[in-house]
Amino acid sequence: MSAVLEVKNLKKSFGGIQALKNVSFNVEQGEILGLIGPNGSGKSTFVNVVCGLYRPDAGKVLLKGDDVTGLEPPLAASRGIARTFQSSRPFLNLTVLDNVIVAALIDENRVDAAEKIALKTIKFTGLEQYVNTKSCNLPVEKRKRLDLCRALATKPSIMMLDEVMAGLNPKEMEEGIELLRLINQTGITIIFIEHVMKAVMALCHRVVVFNQGELLAEGEPQIVMKDERVVKAYLGGSYKPC
């Protein structure tokens, strides 16, 4: 399997704080990679750097071999890097359909063609009954789904999801997990920042652990989660396995 995303020696600091110290790893084509770690470990910064919101101080990001380091967000998106935000950000005064049409226009110049793609994507993500609902009238769980739907409509190679499971009840989470599996099956690579371990275990092929801006561990979820260093990072060093 080839790497769809290669991250090499990424560094980023804000003022005096080093959010990313020297991060290097690869993301394989078609996998769901979990990105976990305690709060403040640099996960969101990482996503923001890859999708272009921040420029890294040093290091490279390669997408399918092409250098995309520091590309501004719109350009990163047209290359195939999609992301969702921590709190859902639909275009509130627009309907679900209009929201997704905006996304689908990334590759289309004609609105009717974009509309067709939008409708297909809306169906795929299970939002048909909300097609003409203004997104400000959607409940939180559906808004998150809309975020996913929009990102999907931009025909990405890789989707970076920032805590998409937060605040969902068990049933909604099951449905979310199922949807992400479906998305992954279409060939889209997913980077999955999550705190909800159940979802991580259920979905991720591999997991990468951040701690204080550095890569702490890498590997299959079950193995990594038992790693003593990882446990210590989460619990602050006072945990002793019995």
Binding site: R89, L94, A103, V111, R150
Partner: protein, 315 residues
Amino acid sequence: MSKKMKYAVAGFFALLILAFPLLVDNPYIIHTFFMVFLFATMGLGWNLIGGYGAQLSLGHAAFFAVGAYTAVLFVVYKSITPFLGGVVGIVFAVILAIIIGLPSFRLRGPYFTLSTIAAAEIVRTLLLHFQDFTGGANGIPIPFKGENPLFLQFYSKAPYYYLALIMLIAVFLLLRFLEKSKIGRYLAAIREDQDAAESLGIKTHKVKMIALIISAAITAACGVLYAFTVGFIDPDSIAGLSLSIEIAVVVIVGGIGTLWGPIVGAGVVILLTELTNMYLGAMRSGASLMLYGLLLIIVILFKPQGLSALFRKKS
């Protein structure tokens, strides 16, 4: 009201508007409606960047003046028809728009607004300064040498009325098309959430720039028409902050970001202005501008969506 009734009423009003100059003899009244159409058109143009794009411009007078002065100077110095001179004026206005937009679209906050004010003031100051060429503070009159359609010279006010009406309809249709087009949808997305829009591949600077360019072109064209209708232009009247404010007020009062807003707003504001001028006679310009200020305050505080929100059935 049934649909048939609605079409009948609309048709009646359309007929009335079309036949108006033939029914009414008073040039002052015809001119007032001319101004309504002109401001409605300018309002629609402003709305593209100010309403749909959510970038508040207080410098649109610059585009108006650039269009007007270019066309007038071409006539006065080179005897070239305003149909050509106006096109050149529009090109200049577009260049000015690019100069303004390039640095300020990168920034958030009120910086864009301040840039537009600075740009308009620079235009006005330059027009005043090069007085040998532009007539300075005294302005330029357009010498009337008899009826000449090619040079937009008519005895009656009616042709100007119809020209303004045609322009209004054209711009209205343009905006209606743009609203649902890729550009219009991208603008709406940017207005709603710029960061989310960028994450979906929208090049926000480019989109805002296109909106500003179209807006500038429309405003410049209005400047050309105005100049030849009134027959006289001077920097303080047409390149001043007051005009920029008037354009913005028309849209905000009528309903920012809506298609009918500028039209409703133009009607309301111009009519109120004329009434105020009629009753407060000698204090002319002060009274109407004071009214603008008051209207702006009231609308912002109590009905920020503007008056056309009152006509909308669902929210």
